[in-house]
Amino acid sequence: MRMPLSWLAEVTDLPPGARGADVAAGLVSVGLEEEDLHGGDLTGPLVVGRVLDFTLEPQKNGKTIRWCTVDVGQNGQMLTEGKHQEIVCGAHNFEVGDLVVVVLPGAVLPGNFAIAARKTYGHVSNGMICAEDEIGLGHDHEGIIVLERLLGAEKAAMLQAGDDAIALLGLAEETVETNVTPDRGYCFSVRGLAREYWHSQGSPAGGYRDPADVATPQANDSGHPIRLDDDAPLDGNVGCDRFVARVVRGIDPTRPSPSWMQKRLTQMGMRPISLAVDVTNYVMLAVGQPLHAYDLAKLDGPIVVRRARSGEALTTLDDVERTLSPEDLLITDSGERPLAIAGVMGGASSEVDDSTTDVLVEAAHFDPTTVARSSRRHRLVTEASKRFERGVDPRVTAAAAQLAVDLLVEHGGGTADPGVTDVDHTTERTAYLLDVTEPSRIVGVDYPRERVLAILRDLGCTVDEAGEGTDDTHVLVTPPSWRPDLVDAPDYAEEVARIDGYNNIPSITPTPSEGRGLTHGQKARRIVADALAGAGYTEVLSYPFVAAELADQLGLAPDDDRREAVRVANPLSEERPLLRTMVLSSLVDVLRRNLARGHKDVAISEIGLVFRPGGPLAKAPIPSVDSRPDDATLEQLYAAVPDQPRRAAAIASGQIEQAGWWGPGRAADWSDMVAAVQSVAGALAVPVVVTNDPGHAPWHPGRCARISLADGTLVGHAGELHPKVLAALDLPPRTVATEFDVDVLTAASEEPVQASEFSSFPPALTDVALLVRSEVAAGDVETALRRGAGESLESIALFDVYEGERVEAGHRSLAYRLTFRALDRTLTTDEVNAFRDAAVAAAAEATGAVQR
């Protein structure tokens, strides 16, 4: 919402010499964020120019500039050289004959940008043809300003080359632009913003002059008939609870709106259109009440406000035919022909045009929800809908209509009808019994009772200190009609704090009494992340959005539950509509990106949630927010949220150990991935078991390890990715990866580690070489050896694997070193040999191993 300083000064007192920045700072101090400052920081000459001709000149840089001759009246080169202004212009959105805004040498544009004649593109450019943003009029930089388009043809027709554009566009004075939060709909008006500025100045008595404070005539029966006929209120609220209709006849349709009004509209960022439209916009900006002007001649009967019927359509002012919904509230002619979507936009059929002489002014109060839904449904955010959605003062209706009538009479030469319609179903706000100590309790600042009451009165509240329920600490407060947001104590507390000054709030560090620190799961997750980084993986964070084809590319079987993915209804990219069911699914993108950037050796990891709906999404309930939902509903709510396990993945390609002066590097292989999981499990002190898994996509069937807990619970998989998967995903051959479940490891590490006793006697070492069939898993041999070796076995290490000429075909030799140690004595050679023989016997029985 913008506000020129001159308009502000009409409503409240501005300290002498106050600048835009001062006003903005004042508004910030009461919680209205500064958005921008326009105008004021510009000195001329800035004049109206008419383009006389131009030649197109292509440049080496690919641009084509226009070398223009512009009539700027008795200014610039006309005075010094007796010829029209010569200017280089890069924009192409104008024609010969157009009126434009020209800044001449000697001027200073916003941002302290001094204009001088300068050589550019082989010419001396004597100034510049301006775009909106260059002169602080707006943010548009699509092309230069063409005044016929900015001001309308009629207004432009009255301009002459050389006219001062600073005055014309209201650039001499500053306009403050603030960001209005959804609770402060009243600040979408000069009336409301000025009031806030007045508060920022300490609300001096008599310092605020309400622009809506005008006399309004009594309603009577002779006005245009209005019927409020809402048979389907939303949430029990009728769509329209007040409708004022006024008629002005005999307006001269050729009369434009006065130049001061046009200037203000331009300053406010709106385009002057015609007297009737400009007046409705101007009054809306002044007091916050959206108005609509109908051409009375285009109405047949009474205006009926009702909900739309299904199948009904309306062509709105923007020339779009809109199919209406039964929730849309309509303004209709006699209940039949739709004239407007209430509070959003009028229809083309009853629009005022250049032959309109009799105007019906509508000032109505519409239900915020109804307008919000219509605005959203039709994707139509208008000045009116913005205000109604946030709440319009239901008591300003008649005054707004009166202001519009007065302006139409004064500037259009019309006559106001004596008939005044005001259908008013609004109710008075009820008083709230406020505990005046409550603001202090909420804010933490000691506000005396009188301070609280004075602030509330300044805000426009009615404070009753004697009514029912009042006492030393309680008063009855009725908020002003423009503040629907003031409901209970916290609302009033915020107002007191805001007006008293937020920076008066002290800073007290809260001191919780009992913190239990991080949970085991939170600590475990950090350990996993640190262990992966310690193992050489660089942590990345990828987007969880994946393509539908990915499941095929990963070679997932048709019945693989990782195919069951949640689909985003409005994905950013139609190519990636699914949420990942594996972290690896999105990590492969990051690998590819790194490879594309020239990194040959990449080892990355990610920990994150995956989405496992396990079927179509359940429907989550939307319970009432009036109280805590019952336990059954909450359970249903939680249960409807799909399973989202936390998983970790790592992927590596290229060399994991680099080549150097020490010799060649080593390519990452399947074992690095198994080792990564083992490192992580080791960091969490969780024993894991590794087995061959020949059937788990997307891994190579001969190079995939299944990693599980001792009890068999799956932790994850690790190994080399399937060559077909690598080809499908365009990844380098031999890329290796792992994905494992962090939650499983977390749960497994929950119980405190129980330390086992260890021996201080000397160890006895013995080596054994076993011949096994090639397909026998070393892991199974080791398990059998451990079982057979008994309790004295301290450790076992596979130190050699041999397959070749020296062993039988189809077999391989596994050489183990067994270390024995007893808790209570030094073992004898005989004992150790017996343990070894028992271990070998167990391996022979379990795997067919033969000692070599």
Binding site: V28, S29, G31, E33, T181, P182, R184, A372, I442, V443, G444, D488, P490, E494, Y502, I505, P506, S507, I508, T509, P510, T511, P512, G515, R516, G517, T519, D530, A533, G534, G536, T538, V540, L541, S542, P544, V566, V568, A569, N570, L572, N594, R597, I604, L609, L617, A620, V625, S627, R628, L637, Y638, A640, V641, P642, Q644, Q658, G660, W661, W662
Partner: protein, 392 residues
């Protein structure tokens, strides 16, 4: 490079020469009076002088070892003399024994001293010879690194945990009711339209990708009795395309406190602690009113720019690039938890009050570490995370 392969040549310990020493000679069994001349004092002195000269002349341990046999060995003049003593009459034994003993002692000492000198020389030479260039690359395996978003979240979490807060978490795919309705963002609330939400198929599932970490606060309030002091870091989602300042997936951290007697002063205290952790002990805040549906009263916080320390440089040549010249940086929204929200969560607003605040971790990272844009944080280029190591 082969010169540096010296790593495999472990320094040799100084050789212990003691085993090489000549054993004591036995008693003289074949007395030969002709040889008694060996005990002549002049001859003994001459033998000592020769031995000392030989020891001094030895230029290496090998040379020393070679000459040592001649002067200390079994066939050396002094060994011979020693053997002669046994054959002397008892009256002469004492004097001769003393003379020869002293002579042998001097020689032994000289050799030992020379041995010591040469060992020191050799050790020094070995250390020089074994020198390698330690500036050649040593890392054979590139170290991994943590993502700075995670590290920043940890840093903030740790500071709050240190003050007695706990960490709360929740799912990323969340119920619409927890993400919006329970936070006083009803279906028609204007603020709900500001959120660019990812909806799921089917759209009436009542589920969304959470647009904020606030549903974690709701879950905490629904499931726990006050007092509650929790910090909730996490990933959130909005339908923004990736550009320098936006990313559809980003991270927030929110703090929620519910207790008896909490005021906006406590909120301010927690906010102050927060910015001090992030931007240094000197950091100050200023606050102003704002609007958020979840809180009432609501507050917006700015903190003093840590780069220019609040110098107003706007429009000057030295305009601060961190704060844009205003001297202050916007932190984020906060406020006292709306009573409606407390009631929805089954907490009696007449007994308990609370506050909540939050901010985007990406923004904190951009500010604190001078990260220029969102791209680096989301693209996963190895070089980005590696700058931060294991702790930012």
């Amino acid at each position: 490079m082969s010169r540096n392969a010296g790593a495999s040549e472990a320094p040799q310990p100084p050789t212990d020469e003691s085993s090489e020493r000549t054993p004591m000679s036995g008693p003289n069994t074949n007395y030969d009076p002709v040889e008694v001349a060996a005990l002549d004092p002049a001859q003994i002195d001459a033998a000592v002088e020769q031995a000392l000269a030989a020891a001094a002349a030895a230029g290496s341990l090998e040379e020393l070892k070679a000459v040592r046999t001649a002067h200390q060995g079994e066939k050396s003049a002094l060994a011979l003399a020693n053997r002669e003593i046994a054959a002397l009459p008892p009256s002469a034994k004492a004097e001769a024994g003393k003379r020869v003993g002293q002579a042998r002692g001097r020689v032994a000492q000289a050799f030992a001293a020379r041995q010591g000198e040469l060992e020191v020389e050799r050790d020094e030479r070995i250390l020089v010879e074994e020198r390698v260039d330690v500036t050649v690359p040593a890392l054979r395996r590139r170290p991994g690194a943590r993502h700075p978003i995670e590290l920043t979240a940890q840093r903030l979490v740790d500071a709050f945990v240190g003050m007695g807060w706990e960490v709360a978490e929740g799912p990323e795919l969340e119920s619409e009711w927890l993400n919006f309705d329970a936070l006083n963002l009803g279906p028609d609330h204007p603020a709900r339209q500001m959120q660019d939400t990812f909806f799921l198929d089917p759209v009436d599932s009542g589920l969304v990708l959470r647009t904020q970490t606030s549903p974690v606060q709701i879950r905490t309030m629904l499931d726990q009795e006050p007092p509650i002091y929790v910090v909730a870091p996490g990933k959130v989602f909005r339908t923004d395309d990736l550009d320098a300042t936006h990313t559809p997936v980003f991270h927030q951290i929110e703090c929620l406190a519910i207790d008896k007697g909490l005021t906006m002063a406590h909120l301010r205290g927690a906010l102050d602690a927060f910015v001090r952790i992030m931007f240094g002990e000197e950091t100050r805040t200023r606050v102003r009113a704002n609007y958020f549906p979840f809180t009432e009263p609501s507050m917006e916080t700015d903190f003093l720019c840590f780069a220019c320390h609040g110098a107003e440089t706007w429009g000057t040549a030295e305009q601060c690039r961190t704060c844009g010249g205003s001297g202050w940086i916007e932190l984020g929204g906060s406020g006292m938890v709306n009573r409606k929200v407390l009631r929805t969560c089954g907490i009696d607003p007449d007994i308990y009050s609370g506050f909540a605040f939050g901010l985007g971790i990406e923004r904190a990272l951009m500010l604190r570490h001078g990260v220029q844009g969102m791209h680096d944080m989301v693209e996963g280029d190895l070089r980005f995370s590696q700058q931060f190591g294991m702790g930012a």
